[in-house]
């Protein structure tokens, strides 16, 4: 077929077509934030500062690093992060 794949909506169309993002919590209070470093050079300096700023507000921050920025994070790392945090910040892509 030419062009993008088009599917017909099987739902009652009460929600917008665009896939919704996960529901956000009202604030970071009591939440664990995971910082995932994509391993591009210099990104760690930026992320370290974000870590300090969030920790300074009393937020629990956990740090992770993926092996290479050229591929999606490995499944085992994704599972670990998903089990250990409530929210994720990933960077720094340039």
């Amino acid at each position: 077929m030419n062009g993008p794949t088009v599917l017909l909506d099987p739902t009652a169309e009460l929600a917008p077509v665009a896939r919704a993002l996960s529901a956000r919590p009202p604030s970071l209070d009591g939440k664990r934030v995971g910082i995932l470093d994509i391993s591009k050079a210099r990104g760690n300096v930026f992320l370290d500062r974000v870590d300090e700023l969030l920790a300074g507000r009393g937020i629990t921050v956990m740090r992770y690093r993926k092996p290479t920025f050229t591929r999606p994070a490995p499944a085992v790392l994704v599972q670990q992060i998903a089990a250990e945090v409530d929210l994720v910040v990933e960077g720094l892509a340039d």
Partner: protein, 73 residues
């Protein structure tokens, strides 16, 4: 962005941080992934900056990062 999309699918709100160079690529990827994850962009360049400059970028970005993963945005 793939990673953030993956976390979103596991009900973990996420935000990607990238330099402004990434803006058009991010838009294209969102279209091709079928999902538009939250992104925070910081001014290019990254590699050439001093540590102090990078820390300043982080201070400037942190509020937007928090907004992207809480219900305030």
């Amino acid at each position: 962005m793939h990673d953030i999309a993956e976390f979103e699918s596991r009900s973990i709100p996420g935000v990607g941080v990238a330099s402004t160079e990434f803006v058009p690529a991010a838009a294209a990827q969102a279209k091709s992934l079928g999902i538009d994850p939250k992104m925070v962009f910081v001014p290019h360049p990254i590699q050439d900056r001093t540590d102090e400059e990078l820390r300043t970028l982080a201070e400037d970005a942190v509020e937007r990062i928090v907004e992207a993963i809480t219900a305030r945005s």
